[in-house]
């Protein structure tokens, strides 16, 4: 009996130990899956899968970056000199164009002559760049050169200024506009929320009656639990029209609207954390200040605020972390346009909103899917760093620097 009980105790202890590891294991799994899917992007070819780019064999250009390809096909780059070739105009050739040059009969009954015709076109035009499906790859001739299938590079991703996942022939996965958008919306949100939040915290901790403080704090904590989709809905029906009318804009879905909603959402966190920090100011400090003849206001801004500065900074950092990761509310009110440089009064697109808006349409395992996972990795790293920083700040002794 006693032995049974000891064994049972050991089993239970083992189970408890295992479940103690559950959060660690979860984080490990998140890292593995996110980074595995995301890293796949750098193994993907620049050009859309199943397609190739061809040039005339006399063309000295051997490889192109995604942005160069896009600009060539948009006719933003119209001379080979710009991408390191000879000084001649670029002739853009898409697969469909072949049907304007030849009649259907010339391709044969089963389009078996299509590659031959494609080869003909390429060898006749020295300045051509052709975007063709690999399926109908032009017959390898002396005059046809395949542009080397380059992989998407880290630089293309982190240095790219355009996010157009559906762009052909080369998808544009430039993350800069998304990072800027995210930072703009979150930082402006904190700039709005910080003075308001600290003001309320001072009111609650120093001025309000005990009863009033009790009930107000309770309510503010309750409001922190309102789901973000409800804040987004409120922003959509109330704040968007207000912003539009106030600033005479064409659309009210702007970065500013997102910041306002995020500021409202961050307020409860900032208020509670900084109020706690202020209330933790040692009584001796307050009384010392009052005894020296300072009045209450002087005590607050010369003693209470400096001594609680680490708590307040932690609140700010936490608030920024929340704002950067917030998805639904931002998705619903910012208009979601990846524009660089972002402006407060124009639509912007943040990293989380991009993931939420596009993952549903991205085919599993494709480059777009991988790019969205890479965005998830960025978000994960940013919030981890912020969480560690917040931890470090709030661990500092409260009274340092006073």
């Amino acid at each position: 009996m006693k032995k049974m009980r000891r064994i049972l105790g050991k089993i239970v202890e083992g189970m408890l130990t295992l479940s103690g590891m559950v959060t660690t294991v979860t984080i490990l799994l998140i890292i593995i899956f996110l980074f595995k899917e995301g890293a796949g992007l750098f193994k993907s070819p620049v050009v859309e899968e199943g397609y190739q780019l061809y040039v005339h064999s006399s063309n000295p250009v051997n490889s192109l970056t995604p942005i160069e390809i896009k600009q060539m096909f948009d006719v933003d780059i119209d001379n080979w000199k710009t991408v390191g070739g000879e000084n001649s105009e670029i002739m853009v050739f898409r697969f469909d164009d072949i049907f304007n040059l030849y009649s259907d009969e010339e391709f044969g009954s089963d389009y078996e002559l299509l590659p031959v015709k494609l080869e003909e076109v390429i060898s006749q035009n020295k300045n051509i760049i052709a975007f063709l499906p690999s399926q109908y790859a032009p017959k390898a001739g002396v005059n046809v050169k395949n542009i080397e299938a380059k992989k998407i590079s880290i630089f293309d991703f982190f240095g790219g200024k355009e996010w157009i996942p559906t762009s052909k022939p080369a998808h544009q996965f430039g993350v800069l506009p998304l990072i800027w958008g995210t930072l703009l919306v979150s930082i402006v949100a904190i700039l709005i929320a910080l003075p308001l939040g600290i003001g309320v915290a001072i009111y609650l901790s120093e001025l309000a009656q005990n009863r009033a403080r009790h009930y107000l704090k309770f309510t503010i904590e309750l409001l922190a639990g309102i789901p973000s989709v409800v804040y987004g809905f409120f922003g959509l029906v109330v704040i968007v029209p207000i912003v539009q009318r106030l600033f005479q804009l064409d659309v009210g879905e702007t970065a500013l609207t997102g910041s306002i909603i995020l500021a409202i959402m961050a307020l409860p966190t900032i208020i509670t954390v900084s109020e706690d920090a202020m209330r933790n100011t040692p009584k001796s400090l307050r009384e010392g200040s009052l005894a020296l003849g300072a009045n209450k206001w002087q005590t607050i801004y010369r003693v209470v605020i400096p001594s609680s500065i680490s708590g307040i900074s932690a609140a700010v950092v936490l608030g920024i972390g929340r704002a950067i990761g917030e998805t639904m509310a931002v998705l619903m009110v910012t208009g979601n346009a990846a524009i660089l440089p972002p402006s407060l009064f124009e639509p912007v697109r943040t990293i989380p909103a991009t993931i939420a808006a596009e993952l549903g349409e991205a085919p599993t395992g494709g480059t777009h899917y991988q790019a969205l996972f890479l965005l998830g990795c960025i978000l994960f790293v940013i919030t981890m760093v912020i969480s560690v920083v917040a931890e470090m700040i709030s661990k500092k002794p409260q009274n340092s620097g006073v």
Binding site: S19, T23, V229, I264, P352, A356, L359, V388
Partner: protein
């Protein structure tokens, strides 16, 4: 009056106004949803399916879907979280393992919900092949609320005075017996606040269920854990952003928002009531 006291008067006036304004904003949101939504709520709204392209009818499938997800995620997260907290609080001592686990738990809590959505899609939907299903969504949500359960349980266990543990050992009870017969029964009400808070959190989350379970429109109830369901927060998102008849869906959106807020706020209120009652009881002993 001296300049000093005028300064003080002005500063205090500003803070009072700020306080009232901010609290006013927060109440405005609440009031706005309640004012616009209360007229829509009826027994029929809560118990019928959406009809006519979601411009009429009720939100019954979404309510049931959210309840299913709450149940599914709690079945996983609650026992796992409580056991994890018992380990760190009662078994693991004070070494670096516990500190490491704590840091990991707080890190997990800071990960944005959309990242959980990505992860759930990669692991549960694709890798394990569950597809968009209740089980994939529930598992994703349960990982999201684990830190909530763990933290509240830890707090609950910490609140039990050490004398109860030593007293139980002195009577010859083993560690397991002490936990099962003394510690857990006393901490239970506070542990349940963790459960209730998690229910509130799970009911309101949208981003994690976008790609793991949520259905745009599905007027029937699920028959297995591999079915998709509608859910209240996603339904609100759909109604608010992608209807052809915005004018007609607006009232339903208000109603959905109100039901959602009511569930979440009631859960949070209940949790803090239990906590307050328990704290009083523990103080008295």
């Amino acid at each position: 009056m001296t300049k000093k006291s005028i300064n003080e008067k002005v500063a205090f006036l500003i803070f009072r106004v700020l306080g009232i304004v901010v609290i006013g904003i927060l109440f405005w949101i609440l009031g706005f949803i309640i004012y616009n939504g209360i007229g829509v709520i009826s027994w029929e709204f809560l118990t019928t399916e959406p009809t006519e392209g979601m411009t009429a009818g009720g939100i019954f499938p979404a309510i049931m879907g959210t309840l299913t997800l709450v149940l599914g995620s709690m079945v996983v997260a609650f026992p796992l979280g409580v056991m994890s907290a018992i380990y760190t609080q009662e078994y693991a001592g004070k070494g670096w393992t516990v500190r490491f686990i704590r840091v990991m738990t707080s890190n997990l809590a800071s990960i944005p919900s959309i990242v959980f959505g990505l992860f759930g899609m990669a692991l549960f939907v694709n890798k394990l092949g569950f597809g968009d299903s209740i089980i994939a969504g529930s598992l994703t949500l349960s990982l999201l609320v684990l830190p909530v359960v763990i933290r509240t349980t830890e707090e609950a266990l910490k609140a039990i005075p050490n004398s109860y543990r030593t007293g139980s050992y002195a009577l010859g009870a083993t560690k397991l017996q002490t936990i099962r017969k003394v510690i857990l029964p006393m901490a239970m009400p506070n542990i349940f606040t963790g459960l209730i808070l998690s229910i509130g959190r799970v009911s309101g989350e949208t981003a994690p269920i976008l790609f793991t379970v949520a259905a745009y429109f599905l007027p029937k109830l699920p028959s297995s854990i591999f079915d998709q369901v509608m859910a209240l927060p996603y339904h609100l998102y759909v109604l608010a952003t992608s209807g052809a008849n915005m004018e007609q869906t607006r009232p339903i959106a208000y109603g959905t928002a109100l039901v959602l807020i009511a569930i979440v706020l009631m859960m949070n209120l209940l949790a803090s009531l239990i906590r307050r009652k328990m704290n009083k009881k523990l103080k008295m002993q």
